[in-house]
């Protein structure tokens, strides 16, 4: 018997070692920056693994494409170093320190809001310029003058969603489900409710969940159904949204589901049946089916690289790199400048320049770090995003 156990133990060890190899191969960018000497060092951290990995990996791929394009042009050169924070504040602090040790000059991250609250504080202290592609919490940009966002802030998403529902005839009775333990979700929820009241919308059901009991959302969906809601607002991430959509389908409940940018990525959740997301609406500044040249080229490159259609996170990430490139060129930033000098030059640029990217034309930034651009609504039809008016 003992021998058998020893054998099984040995097999398990070998298996875990093999699995370990697999994992390290899939994250090559962790220690392998894209370009070398003479390049401005960009740091990024995000959830490359874990529950929010869809966003982190999309951002990483989007940034890598942009960096490759810029480096290929000659002139300005970027080196990109992506660290994993698993959407965890403590790991984000470690990732930040790793990047600083590497000699990061500009922070092009983090991806999600909770880690950004930590990293933004550090960037403000260390005077390292930070431009986040997708951390949309309102608190993120409050840490200092050198923290900028390229995505909408959460409150804006809540307000814009309520405005969209008021001006478009989606339904008469609205239900909201949100994650009260998550700043992103509750931030959108608060603003949405304020604006919904101002717009005279009929919100018949408010259901919430927390990080500890999000494994069972059947009651919340049933509550919306019982309240007769024909529009259900879901301001949270795709993993939980997949649960809501699956259960609603089972009980034959078919309202219009409406999400924010966190919903982006739902089509890439492994094992999720895209047919369930049919008709799902979300507010996003980017739609992969847009006809302009820049979007088409980006979508093609992204598909070639990852095999999937890019979501808004990938496009935001791509824009981050180009916005930084534009600012660096305008200000004459070079690789031998200190992070603090670059910081001062970039703040001046960002508060004065206008940037045209994939996620909007004529973007401008307020001194607070908040971006101004227009959101647009998309609906999922036949498994792809289609823009709607």
């Amino acid at each position: 018997m003992k021998k058998l156990f020893a054998f099984v133990l040995a097999v398990m060890m070998v298996m875990s070692m093999l699995a370990g190899c697999g994992a390290s191969e899939s994250a090559p960018a962790a220690d392998a920056p894209v370009a070398e000497a003479g390049a401005i060092k960009l740091g990024m951290c995000g959830p490359l693994t874990g529950g929010a990995a869809v966003y982190g990996t999309a951002v990483q791929a989007g940034m890598e494409i942009a960096v490759e394009e810029i480096n290929a042009k000659g002139g300005l050169q970027f080196a990109l170093n992506c660290q994993d924070d698993e959407h965890d504040t403590e790991k984000a602090a470690n990732a930040y320190n790793t990047l600083k040790d590497w000699g990061m000059q500009i922070m092009a991250g983090p991806v999600t809001t909770a880690p950004s609250n930590v990293v933004a504080g550090e960037c403000a202290n260390d005077q390292i310029f930070m431009l986040t592609p997708s951390a949309s919490g309102a608190s993120v940009i409050e840490y200092g003058d050198n923290i900028f966002q390229i995505c909408f802030t959460d409150p804006n998403q809540g307000t814009a969603s309520a405005d969209y529902m008021a001006t478009h005839d989606l339904g008469t009775t609205i239900g909201v489900i949100y994650d009260s333990s998550d700043v992103y979700s509750s931030g959108i929820f608060d603003k949405f409710m304020t604006q919904a009241e101002a717009n005279g919308l009929n919100v018949a059901c408010e259901a919430s969940f927390t990080g500890d009991n999000k494994s069972d959302l059947t009651t919340q969906v049933t509550q919306c159904k019982e309240a007769g809601c024909d529009v259900v607002f879901l301001p949270f991430y795709a993993t939980e949204a997949a649960q809501v959509l699956t259960y609603a389908d089972k009980i034959g409940y078919k309202p219009v589901f409406f999400g924010c940018d966190g919903m982006d990525g739902i089509l890439t959740v492994e094992g999720f049946d895209p047919a369930l997301a049919e008709g799902l609406m979300l507010l996003t500044p980017f739609s992969a089916d847009a006809e302009d040249e820049a979007t088409k080229s980006f979508v093609a490159k992204f598909q070639e690289k990852t095999g999937i259609v890019p979501n808004q996170f990938a496009a935001d990430a791509y824009d981050v790199i180009y916005a930084l490139a534009q600012a660096c060129e305008n200000a004459g930033v070079t690789a031998d400048m200190s992070a603090t000098d670059i910081n001062a030059k970039l703040i001046e640029q960002f508060t004065s320049m206008t940037f045209d990217g994939l996620t909007g034309a004529g973007m401008t930034w307020a001194a607070t770090g908040e971006v101004s651009k227009t959101p647009m609504a998309v609906v999922i039809e036949n498994g792809v995003y289609v823009g709607v008016e």
Binding site: V8, G50, G51, V54, F209, G252
Partner: protein
């Protein structure tokens, strides 16, 4: 009508808790240890079933059988490697080992499957029943879960009361030393208990993920803790107690979400438990054992 809908949802999730709680309660009753790795065996069962259906393209029923076999083997291996060498040492040592096994399983799953959640496709293909003109919907998962739960309950009761092995289990649970003196192989009986408990965990894992499709390495942790609470609530060591505790816990959880607050449902559930345990410290169906000196 909504009351009935919530009640059915509550019984359904409660039935899953009950099946998990059976594993806790049997192991506690017989080996006198808390197997905190039980929740993670559920997760392993669900992953095995997911792999068999998604990657090998096998039908759902095969995937359940494979999951049951895999978890049974896993349960026996865990018992043999981690718990058996510690038999006779203070119970705290075994408890800490169990927590270690729990972490090992979670991290091994993270290495093998990655930590990105997978969407578990329900094994139930049955169409939902719609009653009262759409007012009440009973999904196929609910019916199957409750049916399997009742079947397991009946089967286990028959097993422990009628078969030789079942009787041996009860004997070991009552007095291990006396059972050994009577010629019962205690080690074998304990391994058998782990095997049955883990097989039930596999079934619970598949049912849990059919109802709640998010599958990730920590999927088993929270339901495991709830089921453990259910086992204590019903009276740990008692098989009918685990069933009753699980189902009541599911119903209380769903009702407090539906009628009081979705946000504080956990606080309410656990307060109810504290109150009941204050009044009945041995749990609802637990035996009050008088220690004779």
């Amino acid at each position: 009508m909504s009351f009935l809908q919530y009640l059915i949802n509550g019984i359904s999730i409660g039935a899953v808790y009950a099946i998990i709680a059976l594993g806790y309660t049997m192991v506690y009753g017989i080996a006198k240890m808390l197997n905190f790795a039980h929740g993670d065996v559920i997760m392993v069962g669900a992953y095995v079933s997911y792999c068999v259906t998604s990657y090998l393209g096998m039908p759902a029923i095969v995937s359940i059988l494979v999951a049951v076999v895999a978890c049974t083997v896993l349960g026996i291996v865990i018992e043999g490697l981690a718990y058996k060498p510690l038999r006779g040492t203070p119970s705290l040592a075994v408890l800490i080992t169990a927590i270690g096994v729990s972490y090992f399983l979670q991290n091994a799953a993270q290495l093998i499957f990655g930590s990105a959640p997978k969407n578990f496709k329900s094994i139930v293909t049955m169409q939902p029943l719609t009653l009262f003109g759409g007012g009440l919907t009973i999904t196929g998962e609910v019916i199957i879960t409750i049916a399997i739960c009742v079947a397991i309950m009946v089967g286990l009761t028959l097993f422990t009361s009628k078969t030789r092995m079942g009787k041996a289990m009860r004997a070991v649970s009552e007095d291990r030393a006396a059972a050994q003196l009577m010629g019962i192989n205690v080690n074998q009986t304990i391994s058998l208990t782990f095997a049955i408990g883990s097989a039930l965990a596999a079934v619970a894992g598949v049912l849990l993920c059919s109802t709640v499709p998010t599958l990730m390495p920590t999927t088993g942790a929270m339901p495991g803790i709830r089921a453990f609470t259910a086992a204590v609530f019903g009276g740990i060591g008692s098989i009918p107690g685990a069933m009753l505790g699980g189902i009541l816990l599911g119903i209380i959880e769903t009702f407090s979400k539906a009628y009081i607050s979705t946000q504080f449902s956990d606080a309410i559930v656990f307060s109810v438990l504290i109150i009941i345990l204050l009044v009945k410290p041995a749990g609802l169906l637990g035996k009050q054992i008088q220690e004779k000196v």
